[in-house]
Symmetry: C2
DNA sequence: CCTAATGATGACAGTCGCTGACATCAGAAT
DNA sequence: ATTCTGATGTCAGCGACTGTCATCATTAGG
């Protein structure tokens, strides 16, 4: 038997979610989250780089799903098609079982500006990662950045729809629709 | 004659730019910036909501240039064309005289992750504002958000090119080129 | 000309986010 | 049995940021 309960990080994440939900992000201290798990504030900051990070861990793994999907695409495919394949790969990570949790999580983020700022930063980081992967495939700039950013835009809009009340379609299907809409929009200009 | 030197906020911004440039963002304290202008730390935080804000003030005015340009567009124009008009309006704000200052400023931001995060947040805020203006014009969702976000993507890429070394073309011309590239990309998918 | 309202600032205490340094101690490795 | 490892506790401390009250030159009003 271990000296400490395992999964401290996961328990801290869950405690943070509950506390942020019940009393808000600003009015929840890191020490409070830690105490809820029976550890000290110092331990909290050993698991997470800052207070916002507690809701965004696992993103690295999340990014890898996108990149792995992109790597399966044969070299000749156009950048946007490659990005859309990456998106569908990432979308598969958000299966129907995950939808309720994603809804709650997004509720917390939407209610707290500092968390929105972090989320946008993470999404931008995904775009940077995808752009780098495209450049590694030989896509020149600015096409690589444009395709990657456009892809994350599509993903973000589709995700917002996916967690909307009453929505039941899978994320990848929504993303396809959103891309069609965007293609129509740019085609008009 | 005024009791205090006027333009305290502007002097704080300039002092902050110099200190961030010479010794970095993290290793510059708010008290230090304030002292460089002969005021107290408390006064610094009366002018700026937080330390990062000192480099991002004036954005509200900056956003209005975009929206004002959008408002000049006649109602029947397609969303993307309307957004591109807004972009050209915003681009006119960055005239050639402003380019050296923008280059320095971007250098500081690129060197400091916390500032990058704030910049992305501000750019996202511009997208939200534009999307709202589009909805006010009768553009439905998700077209409004897509057009607005795509527009800011184009603007961001064009801006990055505009401040690149040796670049001399005006921002609006670059933005037009970037949009053409993006249209070509989406047309392939 | 006197007086009161204004408004940017100083002074100060305090909370909280976050870090560095060192000690602790159960279990794994040797 | 001893050493090593690694997650944790403890503690001191800095810096970001806020609430509160006092100050005082300027300005508006009488």
């Amino acid at each position: 038997m271990a000296r400490w309960e395992p999964g401290t990080a996961a328990r801290l994440q869950q405690a943070a979610m509950e506390l942020f939900t019940s009393q808000g992000f600003e009015r929840t201290t890191a020490a409070e989250i830690a105490a809820a798990c029976g550890v000290t504030e110092r331990t909290f900051f050993r698991h997470f780089t800052d207070k916002r990070d507690v809701l965004f861990r696992g993103q690295d793994e999340f990014e890898r799903v996108f990149v792995d999907a992109l790597d399966t695409v044969s070299p000749g495919v156009t950048p946007m098609k490659a990005v859309m394949t990456a998106l569908r790969g990432g979308a598969s990570w958000f299966d129907d079982e995950r939808r309720p949790h994603s809804r709650m999580r997004q509720g917390v983020i939407d209610a707290n500006p500092p968390l929105q700022e972090r989320e946008r930063h993470k999404l931008a980081g995904l775009a940077d990662t995808l752009a780098g992967a495209l450049r590694a495939r030989g896509v020149p700039e600015p096409a690589a950045t444009l395709a990657a950013q456009t892809g994350t835009t599509v993903f973000g809009v589709a995700f917002g729809q996916w967690i909307a009340d009453g929505e039941t379609r899978p994320l990848d299907a929504i993303a396809d629709d959103v891309l069609r809409e965007l293609t129509a929009l740019t085609g008009e200009a």
